[in-house]
Symmetry: C2
Subunit: 220 residues, 2 copies
DNA sequence: CTCTGTGAAGAATTTCACAGCG
DNA sequence: CGCTGTGAAATTCTTCACAGAG
């Protein structure tokens, strides 16, 4: 087995953006794209795109650019999207429902195979075709359906407890929507999407952009 | 007149995590925290925390640590959270509704002052206390309510058009939930939250972790 | 003691710039 | 030509390691 040279973290994060862009360009009928074209679309530099792509096994055609079909295919393989992934979701509140009915997931190799909640008014009902299980069934259902990913869409207070249960149930990665930092054991992957943090980041960007225009302002 | 030295981008992103952690620690009764304590909680190094905090005007107490009250206050000022921000949201579908009823926003200085949608079945009704306006009122309402932020929660196809309209209406920053790259003019701030990209990133992390059994810990 | 603040060192990442290919 | 692939340079970011404060 040939071990791929380590992909730098920043590159790994960008690969997904490249894939999204490739798929978009393919959808509108393009078949090739130069590094400059991708760079313009994504707000990066052409050199960076080329450097990033050297970590993959795609080669561009000098004078022409990259084959979008080949590039997107390689990206999907690299990222791990050529196999299917099963996820369970915990929390069927507002965010949980939005995720359950999120259209882009349906066309992917992602299947949300079960939903869980503590609310007895929700348990037993079905949302977007999935029956909501009570929490005590989490472990057995995860095992039985061989789910590998967990999606956490519960209030902040419950997040760590739910994460612990998912870890105990044997998932390999967690997508966390709860606005709280959670701790996972070594080897467990977690990606957090915190609306509040993102909104605050945006505000900070706006503030910083405002300072740049007004030179020499005192702060703090 | 002292101008604050530029805050490195990675530091700027982390400040929000520091703030979240400070508020959490305050909520559970702590009043001080050492850089090591924060580092452990956030999966970073103590040196990095201290270095980051030198960009602020807080001083830690040698032998003790940082005052959480002072630190959180300074962070809030730096980020721009000591003033209030008005936002409008476009798109009252699943994600839009989740955002409209997102509890953590309510306790903040964020006010979503108006909602917009193209769906005539939704327009005129109210969601979480906000009447849904038709799109053609966007500009006038943004102006009238002096909204500075726009939240985009529409399908991918409509994203760029909506962003253009928000820019034309005069917002200063945009939080984009649509799973598509959008282009904004120089000076306009945009932060994107793409569930699909995040899920794919998680999958990639799981795949990479499977290849080399090193990695993991805390994020988010 | 413990813990901060910080220059200096080290590592990682980005950009440059150009040879070489179609 | 136009565009890739890539060493080398430049830059940015992180970690080290230790003086100094309480």
């Amino acid at each position: 087995m040939i071990s791929r040279p380590r992909i730098p973290r920043p590159t790994a994060k960008r690969l997904n953006l490249y894939l999204r862009e490739c798929e978009e360009l393919l959808a509108v009928g393009h078949s090739k794209a130069s590094s400059q074209m991708l760079a313009d679309a994504l707000g990066l530099t052409a050199a960076q795109i080329r450097k990033d792509l050297t970590h993959l096994s795609v080669l561009g055609q000098p004078g022409v650019g990259y084959s979008l079909l080949e590039l997107s295919q390689t990206l999907r393989e690299t990222i791990g999207l050529t196999r299917s992934w099963r996820a369970v979701i915990v929390g069927v509140g507002n965010i949980g429902r939005a995720v359950l009915s999120y259209a882009p997931f349906r066309s992917e190799n992602f299947a949300i195979v079960a939903a869980f909640d503590t609310n007895t008014e929700i348990v037993g009902k079905s949302w977007s075709g999935r029956v909501v299980h009570p929490m005590h069934e989490l472990k057995s259902v995860v095992k039985q359906l061989r789910a590998e990913l967990g999606i956490v869409a519960v209030p902040a207070d419950a997040a760590q407890d739910v994460v612990d249960q998912l870890v105990a149930a044997g998932v390999r990665g967690i997508l966390n929507f709860a606005p709280r930092r959670v701790i996972v054991p070594e080897g467990m992957q977690i990606t957090s999407v915190d609306f509040q943090v993102e909104l605050r980041r945006l505000v900070f960007e706006v503030v910083l952009a405002g300072e740049d225009k007004v030179e020499g302002v005192v702060r703090g």
